[in-house]
Point group: C2
Chain length 431, copies 2
């Protein structure tokens, strides 16, 4: 059955996913002569870079997500539908979704990525991913639940495991989360659990490569390790996790560690949709696209953002999977759709790299813009400002800013709530 | 096994539940020569009077709840434990909980109430209660999910049912929720769903008695009905719901109505704990207590707040189940525990009724203080101020105030998010 969408005499652009890329594309088409149908499995846009602050009780989930319908308000030919896309039928120019079939003239896959566990034994079942709001909230619950449990157990070993946090993945997410966990240890949790010995709480960042923040220069990489050490984290480089049973982490070298908390931020894979030629899908499930983001071998099917694997002279192994690429590709594709409508040539995508940054804690961040790099308080303030201005919605910005000021002044994190306790599937809810 | 709690040479007061009563009692014991153990199934205190604003996308859940551990910060002999109490063994002076056994010298049951469906056919399975944060969030999801669904269905009947909201219960919760739903209809949802005809959206308040807000005087009762009518609600008095199958609501008179949303706010019952003499439990599961809140027939077991059924000359049918009673009983019991510790006489509880209020919408509320009653903008402003000052925590107050200002100025509700979709048990998640 077809999804109930008004039929108008305009070409229909169907966008799958309202992340950074899909959102920018839709907004850039507001005054174009097209009908836009945006489908997402959530009714909100998520500001993913701040998920780690939701996990660590620093920000409300509700202030880093934004209702999609509010963005489309007043735009007549824009239709949002809440559903999941199951299959692309390129020959029939339609998609199958959980809510029915939808025709398209132009289809854009902007589904982003999900966690890649690389098939490592036990990870999918026992580790905590952090790619969605629900996952971030589950992590928030688990962290607090494990401290509540730590109060109750009699065995020192078990207590130590409950207080051990292993973050795997030395990219920005892993580094930022590690820093935030250290701040919980330093400023927040000892007040909540005076009966526990917080010298026993360990925060360990594991990275399989030989460096953290590999996209940064040597200065910033050194800085980030120094900051993490200052905050009390252990940084293990060249360590590869090979197994996790919910308790024991095994690594390639044979070294093991016991931890009730393993947060996996060490890889992503595209949220691919069935139906397209498998030969144009990369091993990490990205679609190979040309320089106009057109999926190779298809006329009117595009992919943008993390899902798009575009090789150019400058990016021989594809673009980095970061928000600015997605946003710029969304913007460029909107222009190209206008060109196509007029029968004009498309314009190749050219990524303008504004730099990168990661925050590690209070007054500690690393920032890189072109050849300039800096850290410390100035880096941290830059990080705050850039992120604050990137959050969608004025209300969200005000609430976030207030929370940050509050957390900064009070050294506190107020949202340490177990609203929906997290239970690993297969575990006894009352265990 | 015993719960791991430090043993000190102080009498132990165990409080079950950190609602208004339990919280006030604990705080009033801060400097008393006792060890306090507070057990709650949540790690936060909930400001229940604002749950309806969470359900209707006006406030973040996180800003009306407060972490219990933060309240106890710095108080050495105060111990919070996250768990559920299963049984009272009064003879052994201990309780059995989901996390172990706990001895007490004084036990206080402050567990509050939960929704009472009165065994009405289908209600427990198909209607939405709204007594906890999770229930309020489920309702928020369901409201939005049903509008998303309404866009998709082909049948007018089905669409109308999805857009019909029936609130049962003419107390403050029912009245306030009805008003908030009307405001969603008036100001928010038509922007989100321009494809739907909002004249078809119905908000109906059903009350089995002959009046709304029965604790108020005639003036305010008339005002509240007028306000609800002005906002577009239907008010059905003297109507008793006898059955709900998730679709059709049947009433005692035989009149039926089709609605996909039935919110049940028509009754509560105590969250009783097993183990005490059943003869001192009332039909709505409250414990009969003496004027010092001592449960009848027990030496050192008390009940306060909604759980306590105390008959006095002024309150022949017990006190109203409202926050001020719970708070004042918590405060009085703290004093009485001090008296008991010194071997002194306890002091009878004397309720000071400060009045009551309910908000119905923008600039519309009814307030009653002694013989004075008023409504309109002044009533509404009073309501806002009183509730704002009652929320625990400065951060929560600021975020709530900002949200209210924002909602007032923008006529918007920004938090219309389906973060965890709600599925009635037994229904297909993808239906």
């Amino acid at each position: 059955m077809k999804i109930n969408i008004p039929e108008v005499h305009l070409p229909r652009v169907v966008i799958v996913g309202c992340g950074f890329g899909g959102l920018e594309l839709a907004k850039s088409l507001f005054d174009a002569p097209v009908q836009v149908v945006l489908i997402d499995k959530n009714n909100y846009h998520t500001f993913q870079p701040l998920l780690y602050q939701v996990s660590t009780s620093g920000l409300e989930a509700d202030s880093i997500v934004y209702p999609i319908r509010k963005i489309f308000k007043g735009h007549k030919n824009f239709h949002f539908r809440w559903g999941e896309v199951l299959r692309i039928n390129a020959e029939q120019k339609n998609i199958e979704t959980s809510i029915g079939i939808c025709n398209y003239d132009y289809l854009v896959v902007a589904t982003g990525t999900t966690t890649n566990f690389f098939g490592i034994d036990g990870l999918a079942e026992k580790s905590m991913p952090m790619k969605s709001v629900v996952e971030a909230l589950n992590l928030r619950s688990l962290i607090l639940q494990n401290f509540e449990k730590a109060l109750l157990v009699q065995s020192t070993e078990e207590r130590d495991a409950l207080m051990t946090f292993v973050v795997v993945g030395g990219g920005p997410t892993g580094v930022e989360l590690t820093g935030a966990l250290c701040e919980l240890k330093k400023h927040v949790l000892p007040n909540d659990y005076p009966e526990l010995d917080f010298r026993k709480m360990r925060v360990i960042l594991i990275e399989s490569g030989d460096r953290l923040l590999s996209m940064m220069n040597d200065d910033n990489r050194a800085r980030s390790v120094r900051y993490l050490h200052e905050l009390g984290a252990e940084v293990w480089l060249n360590v590869r996790v090979t197994k996790y049973d919910g308790h024991l982490i095994t690594t390639a070298s044979g070294k093991t560690i016991t931890a009730a908390n393993l947060i996996w931020a060490a890889g992503v894979k595209g949220q691919m949709i069935e139906g397209l030629n498998p030969e144009i899908v990369t091993p990490t499930k990205r679609y190979m696209v040309d320089e106009a983001n057109r999926i190779k071998g298809y006329e009117n099917v595009f992919a943008i953002g993390d899902m798009a694997y575009m090789v150019t002279d400058k990016y021989l192994k594809g673009h980095p999977q970061v928000a600015p690429v997605a946003i710029q590709q969304g913007h460029n594709l909107a222009k190209n759709i206008r060109h196509l409508l007029k029968g004009e040539q498309t314009k190749a995508f050219d990524y303008f790299d504004k730099g990168s940054m990661a925050t590690i804690g209070r007054n500690r961040a690393v920032v890189e813009v072109g050849k300039i790099s800096f850290g410390g308080f100035f880096g941290w303030a830059t990080w705050l400002l850039v992120h604050l201005m990137s959050i969608v919605g004025f209300r969200n910005r005000v609430v976030t800013l207030f929370n940050w000021l509050w957390n900064y002044v009070s050294y506190d994190r107020n949202i340490r709530l177990i609203i929906r306790p997290f239970h690993r599937s297969g575990e006894d809810a009352k265990a």
